[in-house]
């Protein structure tokens, strides 16, 4: 069933590859990656003269781009996973409760979400990171909290829609508790949307982290992430395109893979649509009867 969708296979492979690079390879190459060789400043890519590490060229301080990408992968992936995880979990849960019960609780939660939404997230991050120390943990928390409203709204709207469905009424009539209805009946139907949204947000969060870094309050060297590499290379786009382009390609590929995979998961999980993927099994069964 997995093989029937080559795009999904490719995306999963890429994400797995990034994860392995980030958590297995990155710790091994951290020293080499941050070693500056001024002589190799803007070393052009696609040559093996200086060893495999310089295959993708070198940046403005002569650091090998390929190894920088690998080390940056760890930071980017960590920031993306944790901040998306924080905001998706909190937003999903509050949205379910707020949408199911409605009333004044719903109103208050929604107004808070409105406030968070109206303050530009970048501005809020600026202030918070200026007051606190710029560190990976603070970055994760700030990015996580500012993105909560996105999930809260989606989850709330969808909960309100599902709440009116007949099977919720049926569950109530059999005596199911509110908690059971929320977790068993409504949450599974809202989850695929939240997951798709979360995977879309991975790209947005990597870019937000990059903008903060660009403004100088995100990560600080020697920490590095893909966003920082893009903003570093931006200044030399005319003379050394590869400094910004390679990390850019990696960001796009990762975001795209996350999207494709989430779409595929959604289709497979839907019982009505999954027949497309499980057709082989169905045929076997109907012929045996």
């Amino acid at each position: 069933m997995f093989v029937s969708s080559p795009l999904a296979v490719a995306s999963a492979t890429w994400l797995l590859f990034v994860l392995v690079l980030a958590f297995v390879v990155a710790p091994l190459v951290v020293d080499v990656a941050n070693h500056q060789t001024i002589g190799l400043r803007f070393f052009a890519p696609f040559q093996f003269d200086k060893g495999f590490a310089f295959f993708l060229g070198a940046d403005s301080l002569g650091r090998p781009i390929m190894l920088q990408l690998i080390v940056g992968a760890r930071t980017s992936v960590l920031i993306a996973i944790f901040s998306v995880g924080i905001s998706a979990t909190i937003g999903y849960a509050i949205g379910l409760i707020s949408g199911y019960f409605g009333g004044w609780v719903d109103n208050i939660l929604l107004r808070i979400a409105d406030i968070i939404h109206t303050v530009p997230s970048l501005l809020m991050a600026l202030v918070v990171l200026f007051v606190l120390q710029p560190s990976i943990l603070n970055l994760v928390i700030v990015l996580g909290i500012t993105r909560i409203p996105v999930y809260l709204r989606t989850s709330r709207t969808q909960t309100m829609e599902v709440r009116e469905r007949m099977f919720v009424e049926v569950a109530k009539a059999i005596g199911a508790s509110d908690w059971r209805i929320i977790t068993r009946d409504i949450a599974p139907l809202v989850f695929p949307t939240i997951r798709t949204l979360a995977m879309l947000e991975v790209a947005a969060v990597i870019l937000s982290a990059a903008s903060l870094t660009f403004l100088g309050i995100g990560l600080q060297r020697p920490d590095v992430d893909w966003g920082m590499m893009v903003s570093d290379g931006r200044a030399y786009l005319k003379s050394a395109w590869f400094v910004a382009v390679f990390p850019g390609i990696v960001i796009v590929l990762t975001a795209l893979s996350a999207n494709i995979l989430s779409n595929w998961l959604r289709a497979v999980e839907d019982p009505a649509q999954s027949t497309l993927f499980f057709r082989a099994r169905k045929k076997k069964r109907s012929s045996s009867q």
Binding site: R165, V170, I174, R184, D185, A272
Partner: protein, 295 residues
């Protein structure tokens, strides 16, 4: 002796932005084990809200006043926690829209057996065998093979059978059926009605069957309650009502039945004046002349 169900002077209204809208206006009704009561009336006559109120399922902005006593315990004003104990175990309910009555993401079997594990504390395997025998009871063939199938793999009639199975699974003393056959075609309808009837005579539970179809009411009930604009305008034994309808509205309902007509011109629409006269001022939503047509 306490009666199984005793409703006295029940009033239900909805607070809307335009003022109070009455749905049920002073209904009294009682029943014992084995009774089969059909509540008939046109759309908007309050029959569905009446059914839901017996389970405490009238949500805000709806307000319920009066008294509904089930087996001696008062339902109106009960806490949500107490009501949950009555729902399913004491009173079961089957709804109109069977196509959406089951959660699409769980298999039929897991939805049925969940009732037993949660409400009766049975083990998984016990619950499964209970669920399968319940599926057989409502006429699902090869129930053990279909246990793991999902709702979309069942037809509308079968889904309604599953909904009935869910409602009777905990052996309630009263089954409320709110137009359970309206969404189904006529051939399937007959099967469902026969099923409900036979389940009722097997278990001896009380049945409250809400419908707008007089033919269905005649087939399933021993007593008929005719509702109009939130009030009971006539009640009595089913055959009595069909032979000698007393109230003009009942007569109008009977005259509007398509089975009596050879062409649609023979049908008597319920007169506009009649519809508006007893819904004084703010009240029901009838505004245009309507023809009571059964499915």
């Amino acid at each position: 002796m306490t009666r199984l169900l005793e409703i006295s002077d029940l009033r239900i209204f909805f607070e809307s932005g335009f003022g109070k809208v009455d749905a049920v206006r002073g209904v009294s009704l009682s029943m014992d084990m084995g009774d089969a009561i059909a509540v008939v009336g046109a759309s908007g006559s309050g029959k569905t809200v009446l059914g839901r109120s017996m389970l405490g399922l009238v949500d805000a902005p709806g307000v319920v006043q009066g008294s509904i006593r089930f087996d001696g315990t008062e339902i109106v004003g009960r806490s949500e926690k107490d009501l949950r104990g009555i729902r399913g175990l004491g009173i079961g309910m089957v709804f109109q829209d069977a196509l959406d009555g089951l959660n699409p993401v769980y298999s039929i079997g897991s939805q049925l057996s969940e009732i037993f594990t949660v409400r009766l504390g049975l083990s998984r395997s016990q619950a499964k065998s209970q669920a399968i025998s319940l599926m057989e009871q409502v006429g699902i063939r090869r129930a053990d093979e279909r246990y793991n199938d999902y709702p979309h793999q069942f037809s509308g009639g079968m889904r309604q059978r599953i909904c009935i199975a869910m409602a009777i699974g905990l052996k309630p003393k009263i089954l409320i059926a709110d137009e359970p056959t309206t969404a189904l075609d006529v051939t399937v309808q007959a099967g469902i009605l026969r099923l409900i009837k036979s389940l009722q005579s097997e278990t001896g539970m009380g049945l409250i069957f809400v419908t707008h179809d007089l033919a269905v009411a005649r087939m399933i009930s021993t007593r008929i309650v005719v509702m109009y604009a939130g009030q009971i305008v006539e009640q009595g034994l089913t055959e009595e009502i069909f032979l000698r309808p007393k109230h003009p509205y009942t007569r109008a309902l009977l005259a509007a039945h398509p089975a009596r007509a050879r062409s649609w011109r023979d049908l008597e629409p319920i007169p506009d004046a009649f519809v508006t006269d007893s819904s004084s001022g703010e009240g029901t939503s009838h505004s245009s002349p309507q023809m009571v047509v059964t499915s």
